[in-house]
């Protein structure tokens, strides 16, 4: 079981992520908490309004946020899925969702990111992290708190340091 980190704690993960259309056809969406790929999500969304507070969406790093925008405010969970940790698009997607679209729900990092990116990801607006089972939680929490102060504005601190210096 992967672990879920939120606010410096390991918490239970009630969401299941559906990778593709095939998995989707074998799933009964009417009960449980599901994270759908964006394409599937939009068709489910436009079809029926069932179980909507229990349907989230996951975005690949080439996601087009404009097409997601009509749904953003109602989504309880958006996952940003990292195909490879060096693919840094997710950082911009996270910030844009939180700052530009003012997304207020949970933003989660899934897929291949590394522990040493988590501090930055958190600054960009990621609330929860889906981490592999073999990661040391203590070590992860230390990395999350690598820095106590930052120069730039980001989601965690909308004021850049220059507006906060004495």
């Amino acid at each position: 079981m992967p672990k879920l980190i939120k606010n410096g704690e390991v918490i239970d993960n009630q969401w299941s992520l559906i990778r593709d259309a095939e998995e989707l056809t074998n799933t009964d969406l009417s009960s449980g908490y599901w994270v759908l790929p964006f394409d599937a999500f939009s068709s489910v969304k436009n079809g029926s309004g069932n179980n909507s507070e229990k349907i989230g969406v996951w975005l690949s790093s080439d996601a087009n946020l404009e097409s997601l925008s009509p749904y953003i405010q109602q989504l309880p969970l958006i996952c940003i899925d990292f195909p490879a940790f060096v693919d840094g698009r997710g950082f911009s997607i996270a910030r844009t969702l939180k700052e530009h679209y003012e997304y207020a729900g949970e933003l989660r990092a899934t897929g291949h990111f590394i522990q040493d990116q988590m501090h930055y990801l958190h600054r960009c607006g990621i609330d929860t992290f889906d981490i592999p089972d073999d990661w040391s939680v203590d070590s992860v929490l230390q990395s999350l708190n690598d820095f106590s102060i930052s120069y730039q504005a980001a989601v965690d601190e909308p004021q850049p340091l220059f507006r906060r210096r004495n």
Partner: protein, 553 residues
């Protein structure tokens, strides 16, 4: 010079701690090789041909005496007693031990230095003119803006995993000495009415696909600097290519979209964030500027000072040559900027030893308010020397080996570390530089040639800026053999131009003779006033080609 407050200190100390932790986890096998790679790169640590290489940041080239002494200590204690000034004004150690790098970083932090983002796919050290603040043609001192950009880019959470590295340069002068046309972003400080702002160039760069940057904004008000940079970086981060390392720089994106469309994308993004808290304040601009005020200059008489210098030059020819070649004008009467040449024949261009660093620290305190600048030509500048102390200074640097009166000449070449050190190299570059210096050892001949840039890179990555030298030399690999291709007509400044390939490459031993032929064509064709670049532009590459590739009779 910028001085850290408690926040800056905390940030850098936390970075050292973070990297120590990462290094320990790596050595314990808890971080995979490929995952440690970007972490160490963003702390300036490469693993090179012979040993790790650590690149220390010198923000926009400024160093003080204390920092120089610290670097001297580090080279002695952790390395082999010398280091290297890079073509991006940074300092490289060639032989540090990986496990000692956290200690080196901790020592650097004590003197407000670091190796943050000197490598990796992130925003790199911002560079500018080595004569910033003292240049006679300066509109506005670029350094406060460089510092503002440095802070913004340092550990920027959104832009640490860009498609590729990202370099920003700022110029505040009429003549561009920061190569702003050849950076991912080039900023030219301009005035519109009474307002300060920037002309913004994007998509310039050297490397495999050299491109001259395009203007995407004629005037960006100074307060909008960070929000606009953020918009450019976000567009690049989201849309830059990630499928092919060689097509991942922003220049490829700008080309693919066209500069006009790219500018629109940036503008659209910018509109959504331009009024955010990252909008600069008067207070912040003022704060940044307060660190770059004038030192306590004396009131000096320019005419008298100049007369005295002329007299000394007449009496001492060697001093006269040095004064003409290595000493530059200063904004203030009775002051000069002195370039210490790190290009004596036989020493790899830009290399400097621990004791030389200490000597320069002493000299800076005696003659130049305790500060120096590194230059992208791989020399060191004492920017504020009073004229009446020049002769004194000169006498001290002659025995130290910094007084080679070759600044601006063919022998003041830019040269990357090449195959002697760099694992990416196709060919060695340092021995080529040396062979050329030995061939052209007659200073009178060099002075007669005038200003001429010879730039040497050991591979396509172009760290030696070979595309923008009057003469560029590129190391190439032909079936495992080292060869050298020549390019002519590059220009890093206002007349930005990329060199053209002369023709098939040559073996290393042929190089001095080939350079000689190129110079012969110039000398035979030039008019009285022409420098190499002008003659080249007038007569074109063909005349050079004919001579160089003429069949021997």
């Amino acid at each position: 010079m910028y001085v850290y407050d408690e926040h800056d200190h905390t940030i850098i100390r936390e970075r050292v701690k973070q990297f120590r932790n990462q290094t320990n986890r790596y050595l314990a096998g808890e971080i995979k090789e490929e995952e440690f790679l970007p972490l160490r790169l963003q702390n300036g640590l490469y693993v090179q041909r012979l040993a790790p290489m650590l690149r220390i940041a010198v923000p926009y080239g400024m160093l003080n005496a204390r920092q120089l002494r610290k670097i001297a200590h580090i080279t002695r204690h952790y390395d082999k007693g010398y280091c290297h000034i890079t073509t991006r004004q940074n300092i490289q150690l060639n032989w540090p031990k990986l496990e000692e790098v956290p200690d080196i970083l901790a020592e650097l932090a004590e003197v407000e230095m670091h190796a943050v983002q000197t490598s990796g796919n992130c925003i790199r050290n911002v560079t500018t003119d080595q004569f910033a603040g003292v240049a006679t043609d300066e509109l506005i001192d670029p350094r406060p803006y460089c510092e503002i950009i440095r802070q913004w880019s340092t550990f920027h959470p959104e832009f640490a995993f860009l498609p590729r590295k990202f370099k920003i340069a700022v110029s505040g002068t009429a003549e561009d000495r920061a190569a702003i046309h050849f950076h991912d972003i080039g900023l030219q400080i301009v005035k519109q009415d009474e307002n300060t702002g920037f002309k913004v160039f994007v998509g310039g760069g050297l490397g495999r696909t050299p491109v001259i940057g395009s203007v995407i904004r004629d005037f960006l008000p100074e307060k909008d600097l960070l929000t606009y940079l953020e918009a450019i970086l976000r567009i690049y981060n989201l849309h830059g290519r990630r499928d092919n390392k060689y097509k991942a720089r922003i220049k490829i994106l700008v080309k693919a979209k066209t500069p006009a469309v790219f500018a629109e994308m940036v503008e659209k993004e910018w509109q959504t964030i331009r009024d955010s808290q990252s909008l600069l304040t008067d207070r912040e601009i003022h704060r940044a500027k307060s660190f770059f005020t004038e030192p306590e200059y004396e009131q000096l008489d320019e005419l008298a000072a100049n007369e005295k210098l002329q007299k000394l030059s007449a009496e001492n020819k060697a001093f006269g040559h040095w004064l003409r070649q290595n000493v530059s004008k200063h904004r203030l009467n009775g002051y000069r900027a002195v370039t210490l040449s790190l290009k004596p024949t036989g020493i790899a261009p830009g290399d400097i030893t621990d004791s030389q660093l200490e000597l320069i620290a002493d000299l800076s305190e005696q003659y130049s308010f305790g500060e120096v600048r590194t230059t992208h030509e791989q020399n060191i500048v004492l920017a504020d020397v009073p004229c009446h102390l020049l002769f004194d200074l000169w006498q001290k640097i002659v025995p130290a080996g910094f007084a080679e009166a070759n600044i601006g000449t063919l022998n003041d070449m830019i040269c990357c570390p090449g195959g002697d050190f760099c694992s990416l190299a196709n060919a060695k570059s340092i021995p080529v530089a040396e062979a050329i210096q030995r061939q052209f050892s007659d200073n009178d001949y060099l002075y007669d040639l005038g200003n001429i840039n010879l730039n040497i890179s050991g591979c396509m990555n172009a760290c030696g800026h070979h595309h923008i030298g009057d003469i560029g030399v590129l190391g190439v690999d032909k079936k495992g053999q080292e060869f050298y291709q020549i390019q002519l007509g590059g220009n890093a400044g206002n007349q930005a131009a990329l060199g053209k390939v002369l023709g098939p490459a040559f073996g290393r031993e042929e190089m001095p003779a080939i350079i000689q032929k190129i110079l012969d064509v110039y000398l035979e064709n030039r008019t009285a006033e022409e420098e190499f670049s002008q003659t080249y532009q007038r007569i074109g590459i063909e005349s050079f080609k004919e001579r160089v590739y003429a069949k021997a009779h």
